[in-house]
């Protein structure tokens, strides 16, 4: 049960983006299309899972942990940066199209707070297997969250939803039907902040409603 919790808590309960509000910079930058968001998700998935694994491996060995503890933040950063560079080189060699569309955002994974945050908050205090599960869950939660933002932005901003390469949906007919143009503002950086704010507010409102409902139910049961 605990194992499954480690995996699933990243999806909604402790979603890195909508609950912890971590890793904002790449999330706002790459969500101009669903394709970019998914690519970023794949990169974060590899790096987060591996970095959680390595960090927990190092920190679960007592002698190593004592040596590393005073300088753990630089150590984490070096581990993460190495992994990101490896992922970047492999992507450049074997997934050239994805590499091109992600461009500058791959190195940005190094400074993604989610990865450093999970290394410090979870992986350094837990067993390797739990940390890997936590990494997978958090990465999936992150990917889901940026996918949601990107669908919102791409649809409003360009009228399309690009899943991968040429495969996608063209929904411009909806705008034609309403006699209006797609709102290009949503693809711009300003639109990223607006979309994120709107989605975050909606999700928080839903969350609060749920909490009230649960509280009300408990009150009737107890009373």
């Amino acid at each position: 049960m605990n194992r499954i919790d480690n995996l699933t808590k990243g999806f909604i309960k402790e979603n890195p983006l909508f609950v912890s509000v971590l890793g904002m910079c790449p999330s706002l930058a790459v969500t101009t299309s669903l394709e970019n968001a998914l690519g970023m998700g794949i990169g974060v998935f590899f790096v987060l899972t591996l970095s959680n694994f390595i960090v927990s491996l190092v920190m679960s060995n007592k002698t190593l942990a004592d040596l590393v503890r005073p300088v753990r933040i630089p150590v984490y950063i070096v581990i993460i940066a190495t992994l990101v560079t490896v992922v970047e080189m492999l992507m450049h060699a074997f997934l050239i199209d994805l590499y091109k569309s992600l461009g500058v955002f791959i190195p940005l994974i190094v400074v993604n707070c989610i990865i450093l945050g999970r290394a410090e908050a979870f992986a350094s205090e837990n067993k390797p297997l739990d940390s890997v599960l936590d990494g997978i869950g958090m990465a999936l939660g992150f990917t889901g969250a940026i996918a949601l933002i990107s669908i919102f932005r791409e649809f409003l901003g360009a009228g399309t939803i690009t899943v991968w390469g040429d495969f996608g949906l063209n929904l411009t007919f909806i705008f034609n039907f309403l006699h209006m143009e797609p709102i290009g503002l949503f693809i711009q950086p300003v639109g990223a902040f607006l979309s994120f704010g709107l989605i975050l507010a909606t999700l928080t409102a839903i969350g609060n409603k749920n909490k009230e409902r649960i509280a009300a139910r408990e009150a009737t049961v107890n009373g």
């Binding site: 101009t32 299309s33 040596l67 590393v68 005073p70 300088v71 630089p74 150590v75 070096v78 581990i79 940066a81 190495t82 560079t85 490896v86 080189m89 492999l90 450049h92 060699a93 074997f94 050239i96 901003g157 360009a158 797609p182 290009g184 693809i187 711009q188």
Partner: protein, 178 residues
Amino acid sequence: MNSGLKSGLVLLILGIISGTLLAVVNYFTAPIIDELELQEKNAAIAEFYDLTNYNLTEVAVAEGNVETVYVLTNKTTDAIDGLVYLVTASGYGGDVKMMIAVNSDYTVQGYKVVSHSESPGYGAEIVGNDFNVSDITDLSGFDAVAGSTYTSNAILACFQYVEDRIVGDFGGALNESN
């Protein structure tokens, strides 16, 4: 042992390990990446000219906005039939990089935006757009992309950089400078 020294040693060892790992990965991926870049370049030029009829030589131009000129020499007549310019100009969001292919009679064989960082929905419309340029020495008919003044100016600048050099380059200036 002094704790500061110990921490320094830990970081040094970690640095050596990660450096070695990166060197190993780089050793395996670098040739593949170089090969891909070469293929991509040839594929881009092959969009303009049939490479089986031409010998391709690369002239690196160190000055200004023209990075490289690819010279296409006809295999049978040994004459320079075309020049492909790799040229950059700054747009709205960063550099716009273009390939412009020009025939020896100054007609434009083709052009292509290689890379850019313009806004999606606005400046990014330049990819695959027809700018109505058929003669490099006459850019009066240049058709801009509506709503993207900065980006269109960058494209026009790319054409102008080529226009400035083209007569000299076909006149043999390329050989003299190298």
